[in-house]
Amino acid sequence: MSDKSKSGSLLIKGGHLIDPTAKINAPMDVLLRDGRVAEIALPNKARGSADEKFDARGLIVAPGFIDLHVHLREPGQSYKETIATGTAAAAAGGFTSVCTMPNTAPVVDTAEWVSWLRNPERAAVVNVFPIAAATRGSKGGTLTDFAALQRAGAVAVTDDGKPILDDDVMRMALRLGAELNFPVVQHAEDTRLTENCSMHAGPTSFRLGLRAMPAAAESAIVDRDVTLAQQIRESRLHVAHLSTSEALKSVRRGKRAKARVTCEVTPHHFALIDENVGEYDTNFKMNPPLRSAADLEAIVVALSDGTVDAIATDHAPHALHEKQVEFERASFGITGLETALALAITKLHREHKIPLTRIVELFTSGPARVFDLPGRGSLARGSHADVTIFDPKKRWTFEASKSHSLSHNTPFDGWQFTGKVLATIVGGKIVHREV
């Protein structure tokens, strides 16, 4: 699996290429050689020869998908997921690159742990880009050594799972990030307003008698952070798993002011709302929680109009015993790598009429820009040979029990989808294939 030999060539023939960066949306053949894109040519016009051919007739060929937000649980929680199983799930979902969150045990707050995550011994099937902790132990106090983390290969810093709450600490993080051109990723939650809360505050939480998180717990932090990002020149703020319409207003404000503010949205926040929690189904419990129908509508608009930069899964595997408990005691989070594209096509494309080109952008060039991943997110000549091939019309049913992830905590078990990943190519090698 860790064999990264870059010899060999592969010609992807007969597919329809969508490459938002290159502004291509047309039938094209793609020739991969030695781990790079060697040629993009009109059908049957590729000049180079290939050892192997992939028949992509009737399929969409896209740059490899990038997930800015996954929890692969290593080090320390390999009973939930490992880098090997998590990246296998990523490959099955069409992701050729994943950015891992540092809230592991221990927290990834040193260069050594960043290197450990990138070590081929972890047996990753797709590219792993670690995000390191912004503060030591993610305790929100002292900043980590951003420069050393960046040198070791971290693509950003965050205390995800928790917010950087203190104004001064956030200011310092953005300042240091600005010096190093290093994004600071914020889990926006005013935890002073969310203690003991397990879902979104609204009619459903009231009916179920659950303590609940007001939308303002997210939007207040996003608002503060955007203000800081506007004040601190060259700082880069990325809002993780944005879920409320109020928070979108702050992001729009920052973008209009030309601050370097970006944000991501999860598939579950554009597919589900708080009511779907039903009778205390813990597979619908995550943080940020499922929000109101009005929030969902605002998110769909923002996905369409460009306010949102990326779809990120927040893939958060948990063992059965952590979910088969009282709702208030259940762990936050759901898996998401294998259902992301299907949800995007089923909900955003088919239901909300967002064009496929925009959806591909949200999985490729959008996230590549957020963390500056050079040579990724596009299939321009010379780029990394990371490719995702999918059938936007294929109907299928997702079965959690057949997931590649070690955990099966998904709300989408048994869902009928349209749109399926059929092949995932990383560095020119096919790592997942269903045709």
Partner: protein, 304 residues
Amino acid sequence: MNKPARGSLLGIEHLDAKDILALLKLARRMNPQKARPLLRGKRIVLLFYEASTRTRSSFEFAAKSLGAITTLVQSSGSSIEKGESLLDTGYTLRAVGADCIVIRHPSAGAPHLMAQHLDIPIINAGDGMHEHPSQALLDAYTILKHKRSIKGLQATIIGDIFHSRVARSACHLLTKFGVKLTLCGPPEFVPDVAATLAPGLRITRHIEDALRGTDVVMLLRVQKERLAGQKIRLQDYIARYQMTPARLKLARRDAIVMHPGPIIRGLELTAEVADGPQSVIIDEVHNGVPTRMAILARALGKAK
């Protein structure tokens, strides 16, 4: 995950008026004084993760009046203390032969989790801030002892509705019969979202407005810590929301005063109201036994 076993009672919300009337009719036929061995040999577990006086003792008497065997399992003094999960406790109780589990738990939805994994009826005896269905049923039983029918009545619930499972169950039950129901209290205790709980709910901040013309006054216990937590001065709360004889005069002359207990005299109501002629508070406790007999008989399929 499976559907709750037949006879389970997880809440009032998903019952319809017909189910409720059938239960109340059955309750009227139950006589705690005259033992009927309907449930002879049945094993009923009272699984209590929270303190309780009236609910626990009345479920126990109800079960015993029907000839059932009961055992009490509490969080202290059981394997729950050793970290056993709720489901494992459920499987264990099922394995020792429980035919029915009556559960009181501080987490909303705990009875639903049990019901989704066990094949025996689960009775919710109060889950967090969610529901307390047997209380709502005994209240309906009590109302019917004093009023000809529930339909067409005007009722008000006063106090800390946000934290109250009793209030949620009562709201569901009363509105299913078209009761004109008003919720009254400060926004901290009666948030605007409370009006979305059931159709036809109205909120007012003024007790006088809530009481005018009402047939049923339901009071809720107000915990001093919660007042402090919301930065409400005790004296202000009493001045605005305490039920006094003078205020009670605003209600209909034959209005009844209800309270799920425990009552705090001098806080949500005065002693004069608690002990006055319109109070049915002790009657409610009394009616808990036949109501819970009916619930258990229905649970174990002996509802004839």
